[in-house]
């Protein structure tokens, strides 16, 4: 395959994995792997900002690059950290000469055989969410033809992550919707069960359930479930609030 064909195949492969069920970790690992194959670099790592804004290592081509990424997120120092913070490309063309700029990172990198680094911001809709980092064993800039490709890989990672987040949020709303729909039915059914067992009106049954839930700091739907399953009887509910049934009658 020519380089161009390999690039196209990679983008198709990555797009293929962006459907449900979407395994984000598997996706990022594959992206890191393919970046290694396609571009002139020794290691690749991907950092992502968490909700608190601190960077976390999401995928790494080896232990060596993972250690270098961790070092940067822990010390908040290094090209990847700078790239994320400033939302711009950051080059470290000769790390052996960058001890002033990144004291801990540069030393650790050189010790691990990394001579240069190229950090690309991952951006979506003007927001920077992380950085893709290409580590090289030789000093110097990334090959000219690899620069746009690196940005393309960072972009596709960003899009995938945002899409996954949206899917997750929607799934949460769906679950919440179904939970709420079920709870409402459950509460009405429990009213009926309790009204029958305690020989009170459904309104009175509801008042005692609500009172019990408040007194025990429980969700009303949990109390309803306990009533239905027989774990919570009419006596236990009435005991807590003697006269609740009669007061509830209009």
């Amino acid at each position: 395959m020519t380089r161009e064909e390999r690039i196209v195949a990679t983008f198709v492969e990555l797009a293929d994995t962006m459907v449900e069920p979407f395994d984000v970790i598997e996706f990022l690992h594959r992206l890191v792997e393919r970046s290694m194959e396609l571009m002139d670099c020794a290691e690749v790592g991907l950092l992502l900002a968490n909700a608190a804004g601190s960077l976390q290592v999401m995928a790494s081509s080896s232990e060596r690059s993972e250690a270098l990424e961790l070092l940067q997120s822990r010390n908040e120092e290094g090209p990847c950290f700078e790239c994320y913070r400033g939302s711009r490309l950051v080059f470290g063309e000769d790390l052996a000469a960058e001890a002033d700029r990144w004291p801990t990172f540069a030393a650790a990198a050189v010790q691990n055989g990394i001579k240069s680094v190229h950090a690309i911001p991952m951006r979506v809709h003007g927001r920077t969410i992380g950085a893709l980092n290409l580590f090289r064993a030789e000093p110097g800039r990334l090959a000219e033809r690899d620069v746009p490709l690196g940005q393309g890989m960072a972009d596709i990672a960003a899009v995938a992550l945002i899409q996954e987040r949206a899917m997750r949020e929607t799934r949460g709303v769906v679950q919440q919707l179904q939970g709420a729909l079920n709870s409402r039915v459950l509460i009405e059914q429990a009213k009926g069960v309790l009204a029958e067992r305690g020989q009170v009106s459904v309104d009175a049954a509801f008042v005692s359930m609500r009172r019990y839930a408040r007194a025990h700091n429980n969700q009303l739907s949990d109390v309803a479930r306990d009533v239905i399953d027989g774990r919570l009887g009419a006596a236990a509910l009435a005991e807590l609030s003697p006269g609740a049934a009669s007061r509830a009658r209009p």
Partner: protein, 231 residues
């Protein structure tokens, strides 16, 4: 899409109707219907009615709950639109009980579109006509768009709801809706059977006596009626 949005805007200009009502109203307007209704479902069971347009439709929607059959149930199960251009056509016996009762209630054609998100079904948008007439290709496409708009509207509303609660605009049932479930609970305690079993008994009693489920439920909650224990 723009046609749907314009119709929804028109439907809202008259008063303060909710987004959900507007989807139904837009459907009625665009597809020359006699009514439309949005049902919310979980695990194939009707869990609520979010919006109904035109009188009488609530009865037809409830019929499907009473009978446990009908286009909404099928659309939810198959995750595909269920199109019935003539309920009175004896050659099509998909839902004998529902078809008979539906026609009596003035419905001749029904088109049910699942509200789905990936593999999850949220409910069904049901469109009704009081005359037998199939949906044209363009109308079918509009129906699909309306179902998508309804799905997004429901999710948008629920995203803003307090935790563990249903958004108030999605909880739009008539008062007797609660009584059906209360009666289910009472029957379950009376006969010492599961809630599912109690609901089946409630439903069969209504069907066997040719009564609406809500009437039977009302009688049970008021303790005017007690179902016989199983033999």
């Amino acid at each position: 899409m723009s046609v749907v949005l314009r119709a929804m805007a028109d439907a809202g200009s008259g008063g303060s109707s909710s987004m959900i009502d507007r989807v139904c109203a837009a459907a009625v307007e665009l597809l020359s219907l006699s009514g439309a209704g949005l049902s919310l479902m979980v695990d194939g069971q009707l869990r609520g009615t979010a919006g109904v347009c035109e009188e009488g439709i609530a009865v037809v929607q409830e019929l499907q709950l009473t009978l446990g059959e009908g286009p909404c149930v099928d659309a939810w199960r198959s995750m595909e639109p269920v199109l019935e251009a003539d309920l009175a056509d004896p050659a099509r016996g998909r839902w004998p009980a529902f078809a008979h009762a539906g026609v009596q209630a003035g419905v001749r054609a029904v088109f049910a579109f699942p509200l789905q998100l990936g593999a999850v079904g949220l409910g069904v948008l049901a469109l009704y006509r009081d005359r037998p007439a199939p949906l044209g290709d363009e109308e079918l496409a509009l129906g699909l768009v309306l179902a998508e708009v309804a799905t997004q509207t429901i999710l948008g509303l629920q995203a803003g709801a307090p935790a563990e609660q249903l958004h108030v605009l999605l909880a739009d049932e008539p008062a007797h809706w609660a009584e059906i479930h209360q009666a289910t609970g009472m029957v379950s305690a009376q006969l010492a059977v599961s809630l599912d079993e109690a609901f089946v008994r409630l439903r069969s009693h209504a069907f066997a006596n040719d009564r609406a489920l809500r009437e039977v439920a009302g009688d049970i909650v008021a303790r005017r009626l007690r179902l016989a224990a199983p033999a």
